[in-house]
Amino acid sequence: MADLRTEEFTVNMGPHHPSTHGVCRLVLTLNGEKIIKIEPVIGYLHRALEKICENRTYAQCIPIMDRFEYVTAMSCNYLFSNAAEKLAGIEVPERAEYLRVIMLELNRIASHLIFYGVTAMDIGALTPFLYGLRERELIIDLFEMTCGQRLTYNYIRVGGVSRDIPAEFEPKCREAIKIIREKLIDYEGLLNENPIWLVRNKGIGVLPPELGIAYGVSGPVLRASGVKYDIRKDDPYSIYDRFDFQIPTRENGDCYDRYLLRLDEIKQSLNIVEQALDALPEGDIKAKVSPNFKPPAGEVYSRVENSRGELGVYIQSDGGKKPLRVKMRGGSYNQLQVLPHIGTNCLVADLVAIFASLDVILPEVDR
């Protein structure tokens, strides 16, 4: 019998594709359903954020940073404020630091809840998506109550925060924590032991820790591979050294561990928020800072641990009221770079699961 002629074929997954979480394009070379090559093509969402920041005063950059990583916009606000404060030597009031930690952790929970829903949806379970967003809504309501915005907050400013929390924030926040704790049990019951969920996630997309470190991967993805690295503990910023919390890690580095790890992180973040609410002091919420303050010439790198790894900003100042150069660093960018390594030789369905478990967000990749 003559040999059948077979051919590899190329599929463009994206930029318009339901499971690329934005406008990522993956050029896949397929042999049947097996992926033999992945080429991520990025830049569809490039907005030149770094250049825009160079043309604005430090205070005006904060709303731009909101668009950097809009799922955890609080981290981006904090990141830039912290860098500018370091540069100009501004002292932040105690109460503002506590409020910042509360907001950062709430935002991390909201982001992980989105991850929970979206990952489940990518693997074909449509219902958890609605559940994840339902609990996220509680947190978003808290943000709206505080700063009037639901996605791009512009809340954490240079020198403090933009406004104090309203009186009903604390009881509502404690109630939300209680509800989320209860619902987490439901979440785990729905998916953790589900046989289909297990076969779809266990042993899929294993990221060896060496590969992760070599590519600069950080955050939950690296911790799921067994590397205990969290900037909140290893290079504490703000007042994280005052709280009692664990850094969960997992050993296998597959999709399932990345999923479990994020659920663990939600629990830890809930603890931090509770501790911060208990210890919240009275006082000022913002240091006196001129809107057009001029930091001395110099450079600074500030970094935070957000829900997608290390988020960093490098600012160079020439002593003027605008930064001379701004460089941003996002965790998703590095996570997208390991995708071709851990995603080849699997099936298209696995690629979707791996992509979801890396929790890549495209505006942060493209800047």
Binding site: G124, A125, Y131, L191, N194, I196, R200, A349
Partner: protein
């Protein structure tokens, strides 16, 4: 034991209609033509309405599982939402890809739609409510529902789209694999009844509820479970909906279809879901038999219960991967169903059954 005929039985109505037809004095061949055209139109109309209802029902169930309301605007709890959707799809522009294979692209939805409805020739809706009691009834139903694969392959090929092609290939592999355990599960019932006729199968389960095949231990429940799993795969529903896996293949085989052609695939999918449930009821749940209510009401109630089960599967489970699906079919379903078949054959031979 058979139940006394309850009020509201419909086969009297058909007898009256036939008498009316005969009284017109048409010659014999024309009489049959008119009679079958009438039956065809009735089955088509009833099933179209059922499919529309099922779409609405599924959306409502999904919504309530997900703590939403679902359609609420059109009528009480949005009851005519799907009618509005159907009208929208009918009046929508039919977008055609230039590079399509014209013949195949056009006929794929037609075959899918027609095959879905043809199965109802031999499904008894109630006592006396069957278009034609073929002596090969269940075999005919299995054969005709398999046409769906052909249409999915045609759609995948004719669209000239890589995602569609992948969806078509996946569906062919899936449906052919699950056909075997499905038929093997059905054979258990056929073995005991000794007939392929749907009416005979239903009548063999008359009487007490223990006569239903699903309660005939030990092979009955196993056959039902394997059948319902294979049927879920046959009807392309989650967790086996990989041919149209939205998150991987965007929409699979129907990615290039729009307007009424898409609606035909969509309605056919729901009709297929109803078909596999109707077969499950006929084979395992005593078909139309039941006390007090008219037989067709019993049949519909039971079928909707099975459809509800399929919908609950869909909205709670994630999706399997294509190779895991095949592994499950060949490494688990096929051995289990054949072992069950052998067990049932042995018990029948030994006479250990009731």
């Amino acid at each position: 034991m058979s139940y006394p005929l309850a009020f509201g039985e419909l086969h009297g109505l058909f007898g009256w209609l036939y008498e009316l037809l005969e009284s017109t004095g048409l010659p014999q061949p024309w009489l049959d033509v008119v009679r079958y055209a009438m039956l065809g139109a009735m089955v088509f109309g009833v099933l179209s309405l059922l499919a529309l209802f099922l779409v609405w029902w599924e959306r409502k169930i999904a919504a309530h599982i997900q703590q939403r309301f679902g359609p609420m605007r059109h009528g009480w709890h949005g009851w005519y939402q799907t009618v509005v959707d159907a009208v929208k799809l009918l009046t929508k522009e039919d977008i055609l890809v230039d590079t399509r294979d014209k013949f195949v692209f056009f006929w794929a939805p037609v075959i899918c739609f027609v095959a879905a409805f043809l199965a109802y020739v031999s499904i008894p809706f109630g006592e006396g409510l069957i278009v034609s009691d073929l002596n090969i009834g269940i075999l005919y139903v299995i054969a005709i529902t398999t046409f769906t694969i052909l249409s999915l392959l045609m759609a995948g090929w004719g669209s000239n789209n890589k995602y569609a092609l992948l969806g078509g290939i996946r569906s062919a592999a899936q449906v052919i694999s699950y056909e075997i355990p499905m038929v093997a599960s059905i054979l258990v019932v056929v073995l005991f009844v000794g007939s392929l006729s749907m009416v005979d199968i239903v009548n063999s389960q008359s009487g007490w509820i223990t006569n239903w095949f699903v309660f005939r231990l030990p092979f009955g429940p196993i056959a039902f479970l394997t059948y319902i799993v294979a049927a879920t795969a046959e009807a392309n529903r989650t967790p086996f909906d990989i041919p149209e896996a939205e998150q991987e293949l965007v929409a699979g085989y129907n990615i290039e279809y729009s307007g009424m052609k898409f609606a035909m695939f969509f309605l056919a999918e729901f009709v297929n879901g109803f078909t596999v449930s109707a077969i499950a009821v006929t084979l395992f749940f005593g078909g139309w038999h039941g006390p007090f209510l008219p037989s067709w009401v019993w049949f519909l109630l039971k079928t909707f219960a099975v459809v509800f089960l399929l919908m609950m599967f869909r909205w709670t489970y994630p999706r399997l991967r294509v190779d895991q699906l095949m592994e499950f079919a060949w490494k688990f379903m096929v051995p289990v169903t054949f072992a069950n078949l052998i067990l049932a054959a042995w018990m029948k031979y030994a006479g250990w059954y009731w």
